[in-house]
């Protein structure tokens, strides 16, 4: 089940094939935005987890079980799910590459979901301003569930709990990245075989 691929050796030619740099801003958060093709959207809309609340437009989930559906969409979209926090330096440093991925694959079956593990007391004071100031285009959600031992393995048994961490999947196929990525190309090299269906 778990396919752990270190990002470095995965440089495949396909990474070069898909490219674009559209930069149309997304609109509302907390709902799948109208960026992905229709077939994907129907599945997402039907199963998109409803947040417990939203703080300045950022959907907030209290329990991991509430965000679990994000890891189990069964359609032909590739989901790139990253765990981060505003206080985590290497996380913040790699965020632009996720944003680049979102922009580059706009209109295609690729969705980046950035799950913030910020302190709940800082959702309003730190997370929301951070997302607003950077005009982040990827889906940003906040998860308040601090009972980590109960759910880290549900994301990936490869995950030690260190952040950043990234889980990429399409249908049954998945990859786990247990370190920070250093470029958009590195991230794309992991995601692309799933996106294109070409496993190297």
């Amino acid at each position: 089940m778990e396919v752990f691929t270190r990002p470095m050796p995965v440089i495949c030619g396909f990474a070069l094939i898909l490219f674009s740099c559209n930069a149309a801003p997304a609109t509302g958060q907390g709902q799948p935005s109208a960026k992905t093709p229709e077939s994907t959207q129907q599945d997402e809309v039907a199963r998109w987890p409803k947040p417990v609340t939203t703080i300045q437009g950022i959907p907030v989930y209290e329990e991991f079980s509430q965000v679990e559906p994000f890891f189990h969409f069964d359609n032909d979209t590739t989901y790139v799910i990253n765990f981060w926090a505003t206080w985590c330096k290497p996380c913040v440093e790699e965020l632009p590459y996720f944003e680049e991925l979102t922009a580059a694959y706009e209109g295609q079956k690729v969705r980046v979901i950035l799950i913030s593990l910020d302190f709940p007391r800082q959702f309003e004071s730190k997370l929301a301003p951070f997302v607003r100031e950077r005009e982040m285009q990827s889906e940003v959600i906040a998860l308040a569930d601090g009972r980590y031992n109960d759910w880290i393995d549900k994301v990936s048994t490869e995950w030690t709990g260190a952040i950043p961490a990234t889980y990429v999947y399409k249908g049954e196929e998945s990859r786990f990245i247990g370190n920070s990525v250093k470029s958009m190309a590195e991230l794309e090299a992991v995601a692309n075989p799933l996106i294109t269906g070409n496993k190297r």
Binding site: A103, I163, K182
Partner: protein
Amino acid sequence: MKHLNLILTLALALASFACNGGANTEKQAKAATESEAPAKTVALKPDGVGVGDKAPEFKLKNVDGKEYSFQDIRDASGDAPRGYILIFTCNTCPYAQASEQRIINLHNKYAAMGYPVVAIQPNDPAVQPGDSFDAMQKRARQMEYPFLYLFDEGQEVYPKYGATRTPEVYLVDKSLTVRYHGAIDDNVRDEDGVKEKFLENAIQAIDKGEDPKPATTKAVGCSIKTA
């Protein structure tokens, strides 16, 4: 593994795209408030140790300037310990900070029972200046750390353990076998929300000659910073 897709020549057909100016990269490149230097993180270490393995030896400098290995460490009564609470932690990680008082309390309670805390700071100060030896000494003084706060200078020890984050605990018994590995408790972020004290339960278990349950746990933490 799985093979769902071979309908994907289609996907490749979608491949050409128009470029209309990626204008937001500049905003996104804004530095984080806490960032002082570029940080690289550590990949999973397949060669680390787990429960049942021998704890790797070390000889590291404490904030008092003296070097310590397992053989040099004493419990609160000055005797050879019954076990060691090894905690990879640091000054700068918000989760380490959230755990600081818990670590002090653990030492105060368990060093007297023969289980001193041995804190090891694994981050490279070149990447994380707030974790320099000077900064460690300052913090230890300020908070009157009752435990050893060792500096993994050159970052040679944490990879042998396979530690990946701060805080991360290895409970080692007196035969130097790892008996528990993971989190201090089930709520690293907020002590008031703790329901299960994994580490304390593990100490009590090995003290009774039993195996800890659970013997391995996980928690979110800051990845160890290395150049």
